[in-house]
């Protein structure tokens, strides 16, 4: 029994050390990528890009389902984007709240018939509205069909060669699209997809109302930990994936795609819990199978702030959904696992997801049980146990501090005192935040095994303007 326990503990600690070693390597690669992109961005002529007729126009698509509290500020920020030519298409996906009424009131919508192409089959479109105030705003009102269906309805109406799918609860910086399209404009033949770094807040409008450099991070540690989670995910991991050629998750809150690629692939898939990660996997699979040159990139620029859950229940609901969609997608694309035909995506990217995301909840359960038993049975002294926890906590804190450093060097968004607070919160992440995520991931894996594909949308926070 003791031997078995010792083996289990060894496996779990080995997994922990190995995965953290991988994260350290990714953070170093992410730092290099961050440096390169920062230099590129500093050398970029944004003023010319923002006024040139050679800047590629973009259709921004917002899928909205019961987003009455957030939709007006999101659309206002999109209409205010500093970009030479863009249209904003809001798809009201059969909301049962006042989403459409709020839009109609704020933007003076009028119903019009629009004979758009029907490249993708979607649920029935009930009406199309145009804004009297903003000629580049369209609202498509349709029967509920899920986010993927709503985005496909938006694609049918989109007029431009590039589309940018965004979430209805996110407020964007004025230069978000310009920064996102910068590399596309340089090489439109190769760059087919771009995503960028987003941050999180309980009330995005309030956070974004301050200029860059003076923005605050939510005072509640619960939201600040989610902010740190985003920083690590984007700046330590996704930037490195991007540099290594396996950027496997273009986030739904800000995803730019070349439209002909989406048309070729049949649009967003409705058969998954969420649409973003699956689409990114599908793009890689398709282009690598056909041996075509392409790039899907993640940029370090902070382009906007999205709403984070403000209660544990909402956070668990969100994160269990994320875990489920990762499980669904990695399982669906199992033909890519360790398959050299899919280059770095098949050899490193998908196995990375498999080991660090899909299998993680099982290993974490094993770790909690075996370490707890070891402590009870006296395999470790309490002092060794405490030392081990401290080591893990500071290992995580170092990775977090690295992400904070990369973010601040890149965008100088937050006040120094907020950065100091984040740095101090980092070592406690293991004890205050990780247990919640552990529970959510476990729940997500269980629901995946049961075949649950419901969205379980969490109720929106009360916003300062809406309150």
């Amino acid at each position: 029994m003791t031997n078995l326990l010792a083996i289990l503990v060894g496996v779990c600690l080995g997994y922990l050390l190995l995965s953290n070693a991988v994260y350290v390597v990714l953070a170093l690669i992410g730092a290099v990528e961050n440096g390169v992109r920062r230099h590129e961005s500093e050398a970029e002529d944004y003023d010319t890009l923002a006024s040139s007729r050679f800047t590629i126009p973009v259709s921004v698509i917002v899928a909205a389902y019961n987003e009455a509290s957030a939709i007006v500020s999101t659309v206002t920020s999109l209409l205010d984007l500093d970009y030479p030519e863009h249209e904003v298409i809001v798809v009201n996906d059969g909301s049962s709240d006042e989403t459409l009424e709020r839009l109609a009131e704020a933007f003076e919508l009028e119903p019009f018939e629009l004979f758009a192409r029907r490249v993708f089959r979607t649920e029935e479109v009930r009406a199309v509205y145009r804004s009297e105030k903003h000629p580049n705003l369209f609202v498509v009102d349709k029967q509920n069909g899920g986010k993927a269906d709503a985005l496909n309805a938006g694609l049918n109406v989109a007029r431009y060669r590039y589309v940018c799918g965004v979430d209805a609860d996110t407020v964007f910086d004025r230069d978000a699209l310009l920064k996102g399209m910068r590399l596309v404009i340089q090489d439109p033949g190769r760059v087919i997809g771009v995503t960028s770094h987003l941050t999180i807040a309980e009330d995005p409008e309030r956070t974004m109302s301050a200029p860059k450099g003076k923005r605050r991070i939510d005072r509640r540690p619960f939201v600040a930990y989610q902010h740190l989670d985003y920083l690590r995910a984007f700046l330590n991991n996704r930037l490195a994936w991007s540099r290594l050629g396996f950027m496997l998750c273009s986030v739904g809150a800000f995803q730019i795609w070349r439209r002909d690629v989406l048309e070729e692939l049949g649009g967003y898939a409705r058969g998954f819990t969420c649409e973003d990660i699956e689409l990114t996997f599908r793009v890689h699979e398709h282009f690598l199978r056909e041996r075509r040159e392409y790039s899907v990139l993640c940029l370090p620029d902070n382009v906007g702030t999205t709403e984070g859950p403000d209660t544990v229940r909402k956070l668990v609901s969100q994160r269990e959904r994320w875990q489920r969609v990762i499980d669904e997608t990695v399982w669906h694309y199992r033909n890519m696992w360790f398959n050299p035909r899919f280059r770095s995506v098949g050899i490193v990217g998908v196995p990375f997801y498999l080991v660090t995301e899909v299998l993680a909840p099982a290993v974490e359960v094993l770790a909690v049980v075996s370490l707890g038993l070891s402590l009870v049975l006296g395999l470790f002294s309490p002092a060794t146990f405490a030392l081990m926890l401290a080591a893990i906590a500071f290992m995580n804190a170092s990775l977090t501090a690295c992400a904070i450093l990369l973010d601040d060097v890149q965008s100088r968004t937050y006040r120094s005192r907020d950065l100091a607070r984040l740095l101090l919160l980092a070592p406690l992440d293991l004890f205050l935040y990780r247990p919640i995520i552990f529970w959510a991931r476990l729940k997500g894996s269980w629901r995946f095994l049961r075949g649950d594909k419901e969205w379980h949308k969490f109720e929106r926070n009360v916003r300062s303007q809406a309150a």
Partner: protein, 340 residues
């Protein structure tokens, strides 16, 4: 086991705790330095620093980091308008590294001197740099470089002719004859650019040339021709543009709709016959344009029994009718409120 775990934990802690402190100091120290620099503004380099910048700007770094230092040096020297700037930018432009060339293009555009413009035009003729980037800089220098674009319209390279035609578009007084000739170019991209540029030049020759291209075999030429014909030939071109509402390409149909909407109510006589077209796309398109130019609302409010309105509803389908009824009901309410 206990011993091993203890040792590993000690090693990990011994590495990670100082690393966390070090990174924290780097975050806060770096930020304080940045804030201070923001307050005092950029420092002017002294003689030795300028020499170092010159060496970097003309050097050939082997690493990516070195490349960015070179680009930074080029930018700083150009901003200072150092006497060696033309020499440095010339070399950077033809460097072969797209990043360095890109920085040179940006600096040349920011400088805007005649020599800089000539260098940009020369870069447009060569194929070693991103032509769209060069064009974006030349575009923003309006109206200085206009006359330098004329020779580009007669260049043997079709890509150069394309960019010449694109860039000369806003210069209404320049190059009309050359552009009309380019509408017969063998390269469809050049024809498209030429017809788009002619859209800015009202005149008989431009009108004839644009209308002729409505029948072009390349669909994207027809797109530009439709838009240009609406601008240049006006109502005279409306029947020809209205025929394109039934084009096999969606983009052409959309361009035709945009062009007809741009003509306003003057396009109505050309659109009415299309309402009875055997082509469903053409009928829908005509009804949509009549809706967008306000005719549907006008008839629904003033002459609800009009046979023309019935024909538009028939061509546009029930949703067009529902949308019109909703709009007009609202308009009637507003009128009643005003009258009351």
């Amino acid at each position: 086991m206990h011993e091993l775990v203890f040792r590993v934990a000690v090693v990990v802690l011994a590495v990670s705790l100082p690393l966390w402190i070090l990174l924290s100091v780097a975050v806060l120290g770096g930020r304080a330095r940045y804030d201070r620099r923001q307050r005092i503004g950029p420092l002017k380099p002294n003689g030795r620093q300028v020499d170092r910048l010159l060496k970097r700007a003309l050097g050939r770094p082997r690493t990516e980091w070195g490349e960015w230092r070179r680009i930074s040096a080029i930018n700083r020297l150009a901003r200072m308008r150092h006497p060696a700037t033309p020499h440095i930018l010339y070399h950077a432009l033809w460097d072969g590294d797209p990043k360095v060339a890109g920085a040179a293009i940006r600096c040349l555009g920011a400088l805007g001197d005649l020599w800089a413009i000539e260098l940009l035009v020369a870069a447009l003729r060569g194929d070693r740099v991103s032509r769209s980037r060069v064009a974006a800089q030349l575009e923003r220098l309006y109206p200085e470089p206009g006359f330098l674009f004329l020779p580009l319209l007669r260049d043997p390279d079709p890509a150069v002719r394309f960019w010449g035609a694109t860039l000369i578009a806003p210069y209404e007084a320049l190059g009309e004859i050359d552009l009309v000739n380019l509408t017969r170019d063998e390269d469809p991209n050049v024809r498209a650019a030429a017809v788009e540029a002619l859209g800015h030049r009202p005149g008989e020759h431009a009108a004839e040339a644009t209308v002729a291209l409505l029948e072009d075999p390349a669909w994207f030429v027809r797109v530009h021709a439709a838009r240009a014909a609406g601008q240049v030939a006006g109502v005279d071109a409306a029947p020809a543009i209205a025929r394109m509402l039934g084009d096999e390409r969606w983009w052409v149909r959309t361009a035709a709709k945009d062009a007809l909407e741009g003509l306003g109510r003057a396009a109505v006589p050309a659109l009415v016959p299309v309402l009875s077209s055997p082509d469903g796309f053409a009928r829908n398109g005509a009804a949509e344009v009549l809706q967008d130019v306000g005719l549907v609302d006008h008839l629904a409010l003033e002459e609800p029994q009009s046979p023309l309105l019935a024909r538009i509803y028939e061509a546009g389908g029930p949703k067009l009718r529902e949308a019109a009824e909703e709009r007009t009901a609202r308009e009637r309410r507003i009128r009643e409120e005003k009258a009351a």
